[in-house]
C-alpha cells in the first residue's frame, strides 16, 4: 500500500474511520468499532462521524472522535433503503442503467452531511481512510476531495444482498484498495457482484464466551435441558416468528422451551407458561444459551448473526432459517441445522435433542467458532494484514 503522506518513521500511522454512526447496538456498529479497535493496535484511529450538534472532537477510549455536527436525517437513510429495495424488486438495479434522477434521489440528504469531513481529513493527513458501509457515497466523496490518492479500505457491512449488488454503489468497491467482509457469505456476494477476489478479505470478528456462565445456569426456564427460541419480535403481534415458536412449544410439550421475545420471556413446559421480564443483559442471554440443548434463532443478525456464534462458542448447536447469515455458521461450521419450512424446523430440533447427534454438532460448532471467531489476536492480525498495518506492542493511550 502506498501512503500519500510522508511521515517520520517514528510516528504511528494515522487512520481515519468514516462512519455514519458510532454505536454498538447494531451488528454493523459493533463490527465497525471492532475493526477500529483492531486498527488502534497499530495506528492512531480518528473516527469521523456526521453526528453532533456542532463540530467537536472528543475522546472515546483509544479513539479520537470528530463530530461534524451535520447529522444524517434518518428519513434519508430510510428513503435510500426503500429505493434500493423497490428498484431491486423491479429489476432496474441489476438489469438496467440507473437514471441520474434515481441516483440523485438515492443520495439526497446523504452527501451534504459529509461536507465537513474533507477539512478534517486535510487537518489529520491520514495514511489510510476506512469507509464503513458500502453505501456511504458521501464518505467516499469526502475522501476523494481530500486526496484522490489516499488509500481507502472499505468495510462493506453488506447485510443485504440486493444492496451489495446495486450498481449505484459500485464506485465504493472500485475505489477501495481493500474490501473487508465479516463473513464468508458476504465475501462471496461481493466477489460475485464486483469481482477482484484478491482484494476482498474476510475478517470475521472477535467474540468470547464468558466461562463464568458455564458454572451458573440461568434458572428462568427452570431446567438445563431446554430448547431456547429467540424470536426477535414482540410477544403480541402476527409475526411468523411467533407462529414458529408456538409450533415448537406445542410439538415438544414434554421438553422445556424458553421463548425470548423483545418484550417478554416465556418458559413453557407441559402446557404451562411462566412469563417473565425480557432479556436485557447480554450475560443473561449468554447463560441461557450456554445451558440450552439447542438455540433456535428465528431472526438472526443480518450481518454476522453474532448470537449464533456465541451459542456455538458455548457448545450449543443452532437451528436457523435457511438463506440467513446464520446459515453459514450451521453449514460451513457444522454447528447446527437450518430450515426452510415449519416441518423442517420441528425435525431439526427433534434431531438435535437426541444426545449423540447434539454432541457431534456441539463439538463441530465449538471448534469452528473458536477457530474463526474466538481469538482476538487472530482478528487483530487479520484486520492488520488486510489493511497492511503491522500491530505495535501496545495501542496508543490518549489522555482525556
Amino acid at each position: 500500500m502506498t501512503n500519500s503522506v510522508h511521515r517520520p518513521d517514528s510516528r504511528r500511522p494515522a487512520v481515519a474511520v468514516l462512519t455514519a454512526h458510532w454505536e454498538t447496538t447494531s451488528e454493523a456498529g459493533w463490527i465497525t468499532r471492532q475493526v477500529a479497535g483492531a486498527l488502534a493496535c497499530s495506528a492512531d484511529v480518528h473516527v469521523i462521524i456526521p453526528d453532533g450538534a456542532g463540530p467537536a472532537v472528543a475522546m472515546d477510549g483509544v479513539f479520537s472522535v470528530h463530530w461534524l455536527g451535520t447529522p444524517i436525517c434518518p428519513a434519508a437513510e430510510l428513503r435510500r433503503e426503500l429505493l434500493v429495495e423497490g428498484i431491486s424488486e423491479t429489476g432496474t438495479g441489476g438489469g438496467l442503467a440507473m437514471t441520474p434522477e434515481l441516483g440523485a434521489l438515492l443520495d439526497e440528504d446523504l452527501i451534504e452531511p459529509w461536507a465537513g469531513a474533507a477539512d478534517v481529513l486535510t487537518a489529520l493527513l491520514p495514511d489510510l481512510v476506512v469507509i464503513a458501509d458500502h453505501r456511504n457515497i458521501g464518505a467516499l466523496r469526502a475522501a476523494d476531495h481530500h486526496s484522490p490518492e489516499v488509500p481507502v479500505v472499505l468495510l462493506a457491512l453488506g447485510s443485504d444482498a440486493r444492496s451489495l449488488a446495486f450498481p449505484h454503489f459500485d464506485p465504493l468497491f472500485d475505489r477501495a484498495d481493500t474490501v473487508l467482509a465479516a463473513t464468508e457469505t458476504e465475501r462471496s456476494l461481493i466477489v460475485q457482484h464486483h469481482g477482484s477476489p484478491g482484494k476482498v478479505r474476510r475478517i470475521g470478528a472477535a467474540l468470547a464466551a464468558n466461562p463464568s456462565v458455564l458454572t451458573e445456569p440461568n434458572p428462568w426456564v427452570g431446567a438445563t435441558e431446554y430448547v431456547l427460541v429467540l424470536t426477535g419480535v414482540d410477544e403480541e403481534g402476527e409475526h411468523e416468528e411467533n407462529e414458529l415458536s408456538r409450533l415448537l412449544r406445542v410439538r415438544f410439550p414434554d421438553n422445556p422451551v424458553g421463548i425470548a421475545h423483545n418484550d417478554a420471556f416465556c418458559a413453557w413446559h407441559e402446557g404451562r407458561v411462566t412469563r417473565g421480564w425480557p432479556i436485557e443483559r447480554s450475560s443473561d442471554l449468554d447463560r441461557l444459551m450456554a445451558w440450552a440443548r439447542v438455540t433456535v434463532d428465528l431472526r438472526p443478525g443480518r450481518l454476522l448473526a453474532r448470537r449464533c456464534v456465541t451459542s456455538l462458542l458455548f457448545g450449543t448447536p443452532i437451528v436457523v432459517p435457511e438463506h440467513s447469515r446464520a446459515q453459514e455458521h450451521a453449514k460451513r461450521g457444522g454447528g447446527g441445522l437450518w430450515f426452510s419450512n415449519p416441518a423442517d424446523l420441528a425435525w431439526c430440533v427433534e434431531a438435535l435433542l437426541e444426545p449423540s447427534t447434539r454432541q457431534l454438532f456441539s463439538t463441530q460448532g465449538r471448534t469452528y467458532a473458536e477457530e474463526e471467531y474466538g481469538s482476538t489476536d487472530a482478528f487483530i492480525d487479520r484486520v492488520g494484514k488486510a489493511c497492511d498495518l503491522v500491530p505495535t506492542a501496545e495501542p496508543a493511550r490518549n489522555s482525556t
Binding site: 457444522g334 437450518w338 423442517d344 454438532f361 463441530q364
Partner: protein, 169 residues
Amino acid sequence: MEQPAIDPEEFLRRLKDEHRTLEWEPLPPEGIRTSDISQARNRASLEYLHSHWVLPESFDPDDAGRGIRGRMLSLFARLTFQVLVRYLHDERQLLAHMVRVNQALEQRCDALTLHLQQLNQDMIDRQVAEAANQAKLALWLHLEPPGTTPSTEQGVRKADNEVRPPSRT
C-alpha cells in the same frame, strides 16, 4: 477417541428423506370451478380514494357560518390557507402520484389474477384429462385378457421368469 465428523447438509437431506411420506391424494373432481372474483380492486376503497385525494384549495365561507364569529373564522381560515397553500399543493401532488401508483398496481394485480385463474383452470383441466386417461388405461389393462400376452409356445419361459423372443423354426 475422535468423533466422526458430520456433514450438516447430508444430515439434513437424510432427515428429510426419513420424514418424507408418500400420501395418496384424490384428484380434483371434474368440472371444478375457481372463484368468480376476477378483480383485486376494491371498488369502494377505489372510489373513496379518487373522491378524497384532492385537498381543498381555499376555504368555503359558508362553512364558517354567519355573524362576527363567522367573519372571524373566515378571516382566520383564509389566512391559514394562504400560509399553507404551497404545502397543500405539494401534498396534493404527492397524493396524486400515490393514487396513480395505486391505480397501476391494482390494474396489474387484476391482470395477474386473471392470468393466474386461467393458468389454474388450465392445470385443473389437464389434471382431469390425465386422470380420465389413466382411468381408461387402468380399465383397458384390467379388461385385457391374459391370452393376449405371449404364451410359452410363443417364447415365454416361465421356469426362469424370463421373457424371451419366440424361437425361429
